[in-house]
């Protein structure tokens, strides 16, 4: 069963609806003890990354999450929380991935936010099993995670390549919104729920 970290950063109704459509049972994680109730953990998040990190710290869940050995998936800002630092609010993040979350550079002739459906080039990680390469997913964000070949499991391009998905041990992050990415997104959520401990 999936536990959703409930730290007040944005709406989770779309996520829980997507899980329901996939018949994936879920519950909420409010305290450290709740983490034991679930086999898989999702950290959602929209809005300001620095503010989201502050809210997560207030719940006291940062260290317990870092110590987890079960599969953890960060979505959008939830993914950015897993990095070392975000330029949004110049905030120190959880530092599970030694990566930077940076602001898109409008001097590259791109519009900010990066909003809409973009292709991802994925590297056959279990998270993308059965998802055809170059499938489009729905993105909406102004900050991105720098491309790093060690952790990158899916790359998107917007002005330059950036990480659409990352993986390290039991930790996963996706910049796009699987709950809004049509059938492919629902498939990815299902894949996550099937990841072995």
């Amino acid at each position: 069963m999936i536990g959703i970290v409930n730290y007040g950063a944005g709406n989770i109704f779309s996520l829980t609806s997507a899980l329901e459509r996939q018949h994936l049972p879920f519950g909420m994680v409010n305290t450290e003890a709740d983490l034991d109730k679930y086999t898989h953990i999702i950290i959602p998040g929209v809005g300001h990354a620095g503010a989201a990190m502050k809210k997560l710290q207030d719940t006291g869940l940062v260290e317990p999450i870092k110590a987890l050995k079960k599969p953890v998936l960060g979505i959008c800002v939830g993914m950015q929380l897993l990095t070392a630092h975000s330029e949004e609010g110049d905030a120190t993040m959880m530092n599970i991935f030694p990566l930077q979350t940076r602001l898109f550079n409008k001097d590259q002739g791109i519009k900010i936010p990066h909003m809409g459906w973009n292709n991802i080039d994925h590297k056959n990680n279990s998270l993308f099993e059965g998802v055809e390469n170059l499938t489009q997913f729905y993105f909406v964000h102004s900050y991105f995670i720098e491309y790093n070949p060690t952790f990158d499991i899916a790359t998107a391009n917007y002005g330059m390549p950036f990480s659409a998905a990352i993986h390290k041990d039991n930790f996963y992050g996706v910049q796009f919104h699987p709950e809004k990415s049509g059938i492919a997104g629902e498939h990815l959520l299902k894949n996550f729920s099937n990841l072995k401990q």
């Binding site: 709406n11 779309s14 609806s17 409008k106 936010p113 990066h114 909003m115 997104g185």
Partner: protein, 251 residues
Amino acid sequence: MLSKRIIPCLDVKDGRTVKGVNFIDLKDAGDPVELAWQYAQQGADELVFLDITATHERRKTMIEMVKSVARQLNIPFTIGGGITTVQDADALLNAGADKISINSAAVKNPELIEELARNFGVQFVVVAVDTKLVEGRNMVHLNGGRLITELETENWIRKAESLGAGEILLTSMDHDGTKQGFDCGLLNTITQMINIPVIASGGAGKVEHFIEVFEKTGVDAALAASVFHFGEIPIPDLKQKLKYHNIPVRL
């Protein structure tokens, strides 16, 4: 590559979709959930629901509708109409809306854009602008084009961007309903002027109009209502033709 988005717009009154809809297989054309789901199946990239309810009960009905849509729909959607406060927006966000669109409320109270962006992020805030050419100047209009304001369209859009709009939905009232094509001249001016996504609206009548607006302007998305509702332009055909013209689309 980022795809150009195709966005059907649905008018909603008392929680029901209005305007004639001509889909085969549609059991209840007034059911926003079924209609939204059909559009998602056809390949719509996003949906806009415009609430035209005038009664006091509107808010509650709308929240229920948004929740029902969010439960079923696996693509993003925007809610517009009657949003005047942060509380309105918060309720819609929690019900599952991805974006909200504000129009006259932003003109009357530009700080609302700033407040919404601060509370929910710029990606949540679409500023809808209805424009009409008056004596050679593009002027912002309210009430579906009936009420002129003192704002010049270009200036207002620039201001909306600086206040925290994440996207502009620009409807040309001169083109709306004519089916003679989008206002490519103005749309091109606007997209070159600002650095946030722009949705073109007003004037779509045939496939060539969509090709034209994507080829001649820097818009990110095109919105239409009747050509989709009446099945005049099936979305799969439209996307195939856009692709044939090397316009990036999601198939």
